[in-house]
Each structure stands twice: as structure tokens, then as C-alpha cells.
Symmetry: C2
Subunit: 387 residues, 2 copies
């Protein structure tokens, strides 16, 4: 097990009606809020009205940034920073999924940065201070509700890049699974694929001796496999929604990665797809993952795939190792298909023309990952296999 | 899944040579330390000298409380409080296992309490403020390094009672697995049994819908089963010691219990054994556990035992359910025996004479647990079966 420093500061209020804690917890940080949300689903669901009623009753002033995009753009971040400065905001409340939360985090960091916000995406070391962030989660997917990262897109430069600062971790997040009852099937599927990908990125690693973390990763994968389908066919199933929601947070808050080398190469490859084609992140991950697995499978990595096949998919450990490995990859692919997720890039409108450009950009800072390091040609091969 | 509030504030510095962060982290809280330790094994191992050197180099003043007992006594707590008051201590550094840490926590709470420290063990609501606590862990067992509880014994009254306050959670804990290399076999075994018992207490629960927590609990149980034996036969095996150490913290820091009803009846039964006979906590737990399991097994709880047998012990799910359940309990018992732990109360000097008194005291506040609620007669039956 590698050395690590563990510090997870975000408080979680989990369960039905947990919105009751909102006012008291906001007031620990001030009384002027920037309320950030996306396309307006929180208005349809009634969540927006609930929040406004709570704010009014508790003398909490607020201004709004709405319309944050599914791949949140630096233009929205800039708008948010202006709003915070104009209104002397004390705390940012993100109500939505990962996009809304990521956007809010970089608004919070940009508020204290004297320059254009894209600078702090390109170089997270320029982040010195962050406005407090709080969230009400409405989609189980990115885990942004409990981590310190954010991913922002720049359509001018076709870049989608992660940035990070410990102070960007939300001070508190309200996780009420009933707020995900209205998430449509395709987003439930893409969200579940996103959670699974976060787990894969830390599960497939050279640090074999992190036995406990590996078994925990399998526990979370089994949860996604069991409940992704149930949440789609029975959207108001509380058991399914609550398991997925809590899994989304634990998958990427550090718990599974502390003490391990981690991979993150599928995410890096997918970010290029989203940057160039503005596709749904979870869909891109689900398409690439089985092809990445097949590409990463070799004599060195074989045992890890056998572990995966036996422990996650219940395959017979007494059969041929490569057989188990191939079956586990096939099972992964079939699972994403069973969730109704496209399985080829062509299905989501991506052809051959920009693959090389994207592969170059994905590897512009060097090879991806360490489990199976990927150079530009490797990435291109995986993109081509995914067509 | 039940509603819950998650907040784990303890920072963990995990790995070889992590003692390097000690001075800087102490200084965040002040420069006067009460150093608390047990019977002196930290002097033999050289850890004591390392700490003193670091303190001297960094102008950190310290006073000492040594000789804290394996079941830490209220008399030691009182001594510690006096030392803190005389020396105007800023922070308490516990160097040891759960006993030393538990003792330090109640010293920290007692420092601010105007009255006898036993009051705040009897009634944790009397705790209003706590001196900052930090730990350097030398035994993987109680998880006290990352939780907010403490258990203190009073030999005058034959009581061993838990107390709790969020502020008793350590500010930081240094977990260097090499500090457990010198833990003798019997303590390694008892520590592992203690960790397993913490997991059992939250795993065997009526909250079946907490699927993810249940799978994580199994992940941690498998880790204990794999590495307990290795750590005994190969005490300097870093992989084993590191997996056990991190598992000890995660087993009881809330991660497995958030969202679930929990049991804690075996702990309550064991605390009476330790209170009356001053035995090793983990040994008492290991003796009682299989008998508690057998007693708790019935048509209502059967499925949980089947889950346990199949997922933890790899038993064949296609056989008779009661067969699986009985085998899983047998496997548990055999496992503890394989670790060299006594399997009967008589072996550790406990006869029939005080069983009734202990059973009464264990149930003095009502039935124990909810998975299989235990009245006084039930506890007595389990004690008798364990003779």
C-alpha cells in the first residue's frame, strides 16, 4: 500500500427531507448566496420553490446563475464570478449534478483570482482561496458533491480540463435520493456508467497489495451493477436511488484511491470526445471502457482482469485465465448495452476525422496511465476500435 | 437506507515515516503536549526516542502520562487531567493502541469538566469541550484513532462503559504500519478479532437495503481473514500490517454503519467480562461471537447468515440455507481458533459464578441490539454457552 494523506472534510446530510438542514448550514457561512443550477429541471420538480421558500423564511438573500451546461463552460464560470462580486456573495449553493457543482467550484475559486478564470483551470496552482461551496445533489454520477475537483470546457479552444484544490471540496452536501426520482432513463444510465468508470480508474492499478481498497471497489461496482437497471425500470425505487447516490460519492472521494497508483486514462480519452463533440460524459466513458480494457489486457495485467471477472461478475475461477478476462470485458460491454447506452462512437455522431487530433491532445502532456501506459498511437487505436 | 449525517474530520497520515508530519501538525494546536502511552513498548521499539527528538528539535514542551492500562481506568484519566491542568497543555498526543487513545480522549474532555471525570463517562452529555487529541497508532484494533468514542473502566464499581463526543475524534492520526511490526502474536490476533467484531456489529442488521454498506463490510471482513494470519506468522509483512491498520480505522469510523441500524450487543456483553475480569477485549469478543451468532440465527435472520457464508466464506449458495448459516458460524469459530485465541470463557479464567450478575448489568438499560434483541436471560444463555 502506498503512503497517503486522508482528509475528507465534506459533511453529508443523507436521506429524505434532509433539505431541512439547509438554512442552518448556509448561515454558518453567511447570508448571501449564489444559487447555481442547470436547465431548469429543479423548477419542474419543485425543488427550486422549496429552496426559495427556505431562503425567504430565513432572511437569506440570493442571486442566481441558471442554464449551466451539461459540460459546464468557462463562459458560465465567468458569469458566476461577476454575479458573486456584484452581490458580495458569502457562499455558493450548487443545485444539480456534477456539471452545476463543477461550475460552482471554479466560480468560487475564480472569485478570488485576479485574472481570467480559464487560467485557474489550466493551472490549479493559481488557486489561492475559494468561496465556500455547498450542494444539493440531483444526479448520482460525478461524485463532485464530495471531492475537490472540477472539469470545465472551453469551446473556443476545444479543451475540457480538470482542475483541483482542496478548498473546492463542498463544505456540505445534501443528498436526498428522492431528488433523483425524476432523472430520466438515459441520464440514470450515463450517471451509473460514470460512477463505474471512476471505480475502474482506481481499481485497475499496479498496486496489488492494496487488497482492502480492491475489495471495496468491487463492493461499489456490484452496487452499480445491481441498482443501475432497477433505477431505470423503477425510477422511484428508494433503495436503488439511495445506493447509487451514496456510491457516487464514495467512488471518487479518495476512499478507493488512497494508497494506490491510479489510472484515469479513460477519463482523459473521454474528455477529448466531450471537448470536440460536447457528448454526454458517461456515454463516452461507457463506449471507450470495454475497448480500453481489451487494449490493456496482457500477460502483466491478466491477473487483475481475472480478479475482476471472478469477484465482480462471479465467473468460475477454475477456467482459463484469458477466458475469464475476455468474458469479464464482454460482461462489462453487455452491461452498458443493457442500460441502453450506445456502444460505438458512430452512434453518437463521432467519425474518423478528428480521432488523430484528439489522440494527440489527450497525450500532449505524455503517456496516459500506468497500469497500461498509453501513447498517442495507443489512444488512437482505442478510439478506432470504438468507432 | 436510513437517513444519516456523515462527518469524519480526522486527518490520517498513512505510511512509512509519516512521523515526519508530527511537529508541523502539533504546532497547529500549540506547543505544550501531554504525551500518553502504555506499558513502555514504545521505549523498546525506539518510537519514544523519535518523538522526544522531534519535540526537542521543534521547541515543543511535553509532560508524560505512562502506564495506561489495557482496559484504561478512570484513575489514569484523573491523573492525566491533573497533568494537563498543571502544565497548561494545548494538545494530547496518544501513542499506542485503543486503550491509550481512549484514555487520552476522556482526559481531553475531563480537562474542561468541573467535577469528577467518571461523570462524563456515565453521561456523555456533560462533555462540553475537548482538548485537541492526536494519535500515533501502534496497534490495529479498536479504530479509536478515527472515531469519537472511548471506553473507560472503573474497577471500584466493576463498570466498563463507552462515552462519546464528536470533539473527541482525533484531529489527526499517524498510521505507520511499521509501528505494528513488533506487536506480539496474541495481540495481533486479539486486535484482528476486535476489528472483525466491529464489522459484525454493523453487518448483522435489519437494514437489508443498505446493499453497498453490506458489500463494503464483507470487503473489510475478507481483509481481516486474509491478513490476520499473515501478520502473525510474518510480523514484518508490510502488506498485511498496512491492510489491517487501515481496515481497523474504516471498520468503525462510521463508513459501514451510516444508513443502517446497528447491533453492538456482543460489545455490550464483552464489556461486562472485561469489567469483572479485566480480560483482553478482543479475546472476549472472539469467544462470544460464534455463540451470539448461533443464538441470533432464526427464520428471520437466516438470509443474513446465508449472505455472510456465501459472500465472506465462499460457501456454495445452492445448498440448504441453514446448512450455509451453520457452516458460516463454524468457519468464524475455526478462524478465531486458527489465530490462537481461546474459544471458551473457562480458558481465560471465567467461571459460572458471576454470569448472572454480568447478564443483569449488561441489560440494565434494556434489551441489547435489534437484529436479535437480547434480554437478560438471552445474555445469560450466551454466556453459559460460551463457558
Amino acid at each position: 500500500m502506498l503512503n497517503f494523506d486522508y482528509s475528507i472534510g465534506t459533511k453529508i446530510f443523507f436521506g429524505k427531507d434532509k433539505i431541512d438542514v439547509l438554512a442552518n448550514n448556509i448561515k454558518k457561512y453567511g447570508s448571501k448566496v449564489l444559487l447555481v443550477y442547470g436547465g431548469g429541471s429543479i423548477k419542474k420538480s419543485g425543488l427550486y420553490d422549496k429552496i426559495v421558500t427556505i431562503f425567504n423564511k430565513n432572511d437569506i438573500e440570493f442571486c442566481e446563475l441558471s442554464g449551466v451546461e451539461p459540460n459546464p463552460r468557462i463562459t458560465s464560470v465567468r458569469k458566476g464570478i461577476e454575479l458573486c462580486r456584484e452581490n458580495k456573495v458569502d457562499i455558493i449553493l450548487a443545485v444539480g449534478g456534477g456539471s452545476v457543482i463543477d461550475c460552482s467550484k471554479v466560480i468560487g475559486a475564480g472569485y478570488y483570482y485576479n485574472g481570467d478564470a480559464w487560467d485557474i483551470v489550466l493551472n490549479s496552482r493559481k488557486i489561492t482561496k475559494v468561496l465556500p461551496i455547498a450542494t444539493i445533489l440531483t444526479l448520482a454520477a460525478t461524485g463532485s458533491e464530495m471531492d475537490a475537483g472540477a472539469v470545465i470546457s472551453n469551446l473556443d479552444t476545444n479543451e475540457k480540463l480538470p482542475t483541483f484544490n482542496p478548498d473546492m471540496a463542498p463544505k456540505f452536501s445534501i443528498l436526498d435520493p428522492t431528488n433523483t426520482f425524476s432523472v430520466p432513463k438515459n441520464q440514470t444510465a450515463a450517471g451509473t456508467a460514470d460512477i463505474m468508470s471512476h471505480i475502474f480508474e482506481v481499481y485497475f492499478s499496479n498496486t496489488n497489495e492494496a487488497f482492502m481498497q480492491n475489495r471495496m471497489a468491487e463492493a461499489l461496482l456490484k452496487t452499480c451493477i445491481k441498482y443501475g437497471e432497477i433505477a431505470m425500470s423503477d425510477p422511484t425505487n428508494y433503495e436503488a436511488r439511495s445506493n447509487l447516490m451514496w456510491t457516487s460519492s464514495l467512488a471518487i472521494n479518495g476512499l478507493l484511491s488512497y494508497g494506490k497508483e491510479t489510472e484515469w486514462s479513460v477519463h482523459a480519452m473521454e474528455h477529448e470526445l466531450s471537448a470536440f463533440y460536447d457528448i454526454t460524459h458517461g456515454v463516452g466513458l461507457a463506449i471507450l471502457t470495454p475497448h480500453w480494457m481489451l487494449y490493456a489486457l496482457n500477460d502483466n495485467t491478466l491477473d487483475k482482469f481475472v480478479e475482476y471477472g471472478v469477484n465482480v461478475w462471479g465467473l468460475n475461477p477454475d477456467t482459463d485465465k484469458y477466458d475469464i478476462a475476455h468474458k469479464s470485458i464482454e460482461k462489462t460491454k453487455e452491461h452498458f448495452i443493457s442500460l441502453g447506452i450506445p456502444s460505438t462512437l458512430r452512434e453518437i455522431g463521432i467519425g474518423e476525422d478528428k480521432l488523430e487530433k484528439m489522440a494527440k491532445q489527450a497525450t500532449s502532456h505524455g503517456k496516459l496511465g500506468s497500469f497500461k501506459p498509453l501513447a498517442m498511437q495507443d489512444v488512437l487505436n482505442i478510439y478506432k476500435a470504438s468507432l
